[in-house]
């Protein structure tokens, strides 16, 4: 038995068919139909361009807001390294500072210039390392780069 179609579906199909016929209509027909609705076809392109410009501006603003949110979300959730993790990070940092071959020679150039780090510098460096490790664990490929 064929199920009776809902009126809302019938109307949607009619609406789609009309839209499709507008997309397929000749340029002259479209201009004529706009004019019959009291819209000046000559002005439409410029008006639509202005709307598109505004849309681009809003999209840019929205992208920027999203990026800012992402940065603050990242900053407000610093990796919470446990004491055990912190001890491991501290030994990694010391190896890096000692400049032993194979221990991230390309990192921490300034830290290896002989001067001792202050305790707060060291804590900061540990935080950075913890963040780096968290990022690497999110994206294992990144650590290979």
């Amino acid at each position: 038995m064929t199920k009776k179609r809902k009126s809302i579906d019938e109307l949607r199909d009619l609406s789609d068919a009309i839209d499709e016929s507008i997309l397929g209509a000749s340029d002259a027909e479209v201009s004529k139909e706009l004019a019959s609705l009291g819209i000046d076809p000559e002005k439409v392109a410029a008006e639509m361009d202005a709307i598109a410009q505004e849309a681009k501006r809003l999209a840019g603003k929205s992208r920027l807001a999203r990026a800012k949110d992402a940065v603050s979300a990242f900053r407000s959730n610093p990796p919470n390294a446990s004491q055990g993790d912190r001890t491991a990070l501290r030994s990694r940092l010391q190896r890096m500072r000692s400049g032993r071959p194979g221990e991230n020679d390309d990192l921490m150039m300034a830290a290896r210039k002989g001067k001792e780090m202050s305790p707060s510098d060291e804590e900061g460096a540990l935080d950075d390392l913890a963040q780096l490790e968290a990022l690497e664990s999110e994206d294992p490929e990144a650590s290979k780069e």
Partner: protein, 199 residues
């Protein structure tokens, strides 16, 4: 350019992705012709009814969503058709959101808030109301074409879910005859419903 019959803009060599990248969306947007903008304006106008959006906002939202990747344009689809489809979808969601705000209570003569009566088989009053309105509009469109048998048959066939070749075969008409019939339907509908219908 005919955007309706062909998936016009999709004639690219084997793409890496099935959808346009944001920078490609920008390129397509910047290269829309004046005629395409006019088509989109007509379509936007038809889709405003039943929403609280003023002219221009539907087009603006469709572009924003495309640029932000919230709606992605398949490469096989004409960019103009994609924008038209996006406007349709955005307006439909907006209408649904507004319909959900339809009150199901009222204040009676004594100033008390009372529930509006809902029949037992009408579990979703908004849906029932929208369906009733849609039935009235379909009947009205059919009536608008009184005396034009071909247009009325076309309306019936479309409402029956027929599309494309199946539709033309059922009506036993070729594409150009079909286009001409749709033009008559479009004009009659535009007179009665210049901003489309509310559902």
């Amino acid at each position: 350019m005919n955007h309706a019959s062909a998936s016009a803009a999709g004639e690219l060599s084997e793409p890496e992705s099935r959808h346009l990248a944001p920078e490609e969306v920008l390129e397509r947007l910047d290269s829309l012709s004046a005629e395409d903008k006019r088509r989109l304006r007509l379509i936007e106008r038809r889709r405003l009814s039943g929403t609280d959006l003023r002219e221009g906002l539907l087009y603006q939202e469709a572009i924003c969503q495309a640029l932000l990747g919230e709606r992605r344009c398949p490469r096989k689809v004409s960019f103009v058709a994609f924008l038209a489809q996006s406007m349709r979808s955005i307006s439909s969601h907006r209408r649904e959101a507004l319909a959900r705000q339809v009150p199901t209570t009222k204040v009676d003569g004594s100033g008390n808030l009372v529930d509006l009566p809902i029949a037992a088989d009408q579990l979703d009053p908004e849906e029932t109301l929208i369906e009733r309105e849609a039935a009235d509009v379909v009947a009205e469109i059919y009536k608008l074409l009184e005396g034009d048998d071909e247009a009325q048959l076309t309306i019936m066939a479309i409402a029956d879910g027929k599309k494309g070749k199946e539709l033309r075969d059922e009506l036993a008409i070729d594409q150009s005859r079909f286009d001409y019939t749709m033009k008559r339907i479009r004009r009659a509908v535009a007179k009665k419903y210049p901003k489309g219908w509310p559902s």
